[in-house]
């Protein structure tokens, strides 16, 4: 059954993205209702990338939820430029991660989730329907061998990570393959700096 909903402007259907993603993603933002998958092996910057997608929205006053990330690096998030006052954390959802995500989707604009176990087809379908219905953005952190069972609207895959060092860790260069559906159909590969010396994301 079709439901009526208020007319929204194209601009308000987009959540802003910061540097360097603005230039790499079609439309320059995250479309509301979209599911984004960030694919990386553990320790290769997947979490940093997912959080960096939140920063511009968070700084603009949007609420965000972070589910299933056991030990979030709060300092790193602040360095990325997030407004921590509008971030809700559910670090250990104890098997109810899908329900927690569904609860949060009703109230916040972006949700980052690292599923503690592989999501089943049915659960993924339900969550993505909910995301579309509520007009939020879901960012799923997945590992290459336990990927999200359904094709996402946008996918960031980290293929390589290199650290630049001086007397300390300076910056990390990430090779990121951006692909997706529709406008983002053609995959493209980019090198971004995440984090740089200030802990932020930057273009090379």
């Amino acid at each position: 059954m079709a439901s009526l909903r208020p007319v929204t402007l194209a601009k308000s259907r987009m959540l802003p993205l910061g540097e360097p993603w603005k230039a790499l993603v079609p439309g320059g933002g995250l479309r509301r209702g979209a599911t984004v998958v960030v694919e990386a092996s553990p320790g290769f910057g997947g979490l940093s990338l997912a959080l960096s997608l939140l920063t511009a929205s968070s700084a603009n006053g949007h609420w965000a939820g972070v589910v299933g990330v056991d030990d979030p690096g709060v300092v790193a998030m602040a360095e990325l430029g997030m407004d921590l006052r509008r971030v809700l954390f559910v670090p250990r959802p104890r098997g109810a991660w899908a329900e927690s995500v569904a609860d949060l989707l009703d109230g916040v604009d972006l949700v980052v989730v690292r599923p503690p176990s592989r999501a089943s087809h049915g659960v993924a379908r339900k969550i993505m329907d909910r995301v579309r219905e509520r007009g939020t953005v879901l960012i799923v952190l997945s590992e290459p061998h336990a990927s999200w069972p359904l094709p996402p609207d946008l996918c960031f895959a980290i293929t390589e990570a290199r650290w630049a060092t001086s007397s300390r860790l300076d910056a990390r260069y990430l090779n990121v393959r951006v692909s997706g559906r529709g406008e983002a159909g053609r995959a493209s590969e980019h090198v971004v700096i995440l984090p740089n010396r200030k802990g932020r994301a930057a273009a090379t």
């Binding site: 320790g43 290769f44 030990d71 300092v75 602040a78 360095e79 290199r162 010396r197 802990g199």
Partner: protein, 359 residues
């Protein structure tokens, strides 16, 4: 669970029509904060403070207990009931019984309580008919069986009974902190929990409602909010507190010499993991008293089987703080591993700990 000293003042738990209750509560809270800055008011009549620090400072828990009851008597003239236990739920019960539980005795104390302390009459009645009279016998029922028979509120109570969750869902009065602040005349922006910065909009209300739903589903301490405070290393600077607990607004802009600079690890382990560093001859690498490493580390042992080659390291950066306590000597080391991951290690009390992953 944190060891807490709870103070129960029955006379302050019911609000009198003349408004004196709030004023007395505030005066008492201020007096308690003098000897423990982390004292907080949970709801009217119930105060709680982490007891570990004060007991070490004043020389024993009995002294802190005596000081607490003296303070209540001096400030309000009422008699206080004081108790010590782990976690807010048991601390309140201990206070009502005026008992100081020895470390480790909280579990048996909780198990011996009658079911009425959970505050749900329906649950108590049903459990009685099932032959369950104490929290312990209720806790022994498998969670799945509880879920079959009761609703999800009972599951929450079951977690409390098992000691997995430290406080009851309704134990805190979430509005009280704000009321006291209003009474004190503080209307400063941004001091309210979750920072509603005066311009609380529809988005904030929606987030609030969602947060309540998650809390109801997973328990009071599953939903956290973050704040930053002063400190030198990431694990000291970040605090995650349960949503709804009074937030200490820190405006710490002081310089912290020796602060580990950005970038910080995106994963900061709440409970650091012991790891080992080995040199080329497979001998342990130590951080010695002069602040240098005993040898060049070449291998990181996460467990016995997970050995990772070290490509590069920076540090150690010793932290000079609390030099009077020997175990506090800490130093940080940044390490890049063979495949390209980077981790942050800390040397403390003669061992290496994994504290952060640059994920």
């Amino acid at each position: 669970m944190e060891r807490l000293l709870a103070i129960w003042v029955g006379e302050l738990s019911r609000e009198k029509p003349d408004g004196s209750t709030l004023r007395d509560s505030l005066a008492l809270l201020d007096a308690l904060c003098v000897f423990c800055p982390f004292a907080e008011i949970v709801r009217l009549g119930l105060y709680v403070l982490p007891v570990r620090g004060p007991s070490r400072f004043f020389g024993g828990e009995e002294k802190v207990v005596a000081m607490a009851s003296d303070t209540v008597h001096d400030v309000t003239g009422y008699e206080a009931r004081v108790g010590i236990a782990d976690g807010l739920f048991c601390a309140e019960l201990a206070a009502r019984e005026q008992r100081v539980l020895a470390p480790g005795a909280t579990a048996s104390f909780r198990r011996a309580q009658s079911l009425e302390v959970l505050g749900r009459k329906d649950l108590t009645t049903t459990c009685r008919r099932l032959g369950l009279y104490t929290l312990g016998s209720f806790a022994d029922v498998a969670p799945a069986r509880v879920g079959e028979r009761f609703n999800k509120h009972a599951l929450e109570l079951h977690r409390v009974a098992r000691g997995e969750v430290g406080e009851l869902a309704g134990q805190r009065d979430l509005r009280l902190a704000q009321r006291l602040r209003n009474l004190r005349g503080e209307h400063e922006q941004g001091s309210e929990q979750l920072g509603f910065f005066g311009q609380r909009g529809a988005g904030d209300d929606r987030a609030f409602a969602a947060a309540h739903r998650v809390r109801r589903r997973l328990g009071a301490d599953a939903l956290l909010v973050a704040s930053l405070q002063g400190g030198r290393v990431p694990e000291d600077r970040a605090t995650l507190v349960p949503w709804g607990s009074p937030l200490v607004e820190s405006r710490d802009r002081a310089p912290w010499p020796g602060q580990i600079r950005a970038p910080s690890p995106a994963t900061t382990l709440l409970h650091p993991v012991v790891v080992q560093l080995r040199d080329a001859n497979d001998a342990p690498v130590l951080f010695d008293a002069r602040g240098v490493l005993s040898a060049e580390p070449t291998t990181l042992l996460l467990t016995h089987y997970a050995r990772r080659t070290i490509l590069w390291h920076a540090g150690p950066w010793p932290l000079v703080e609390r030099w009077w306590s020997r175990g506090r000597r800490r130093a940080h080391l940044q390490v890049v591993l063979a495949l390209g991951e980077a981790v942050l290690l800390v040397a403390e009390s003669g061992r290496w700990w994994l504290v952060g992953i640059y994920d």
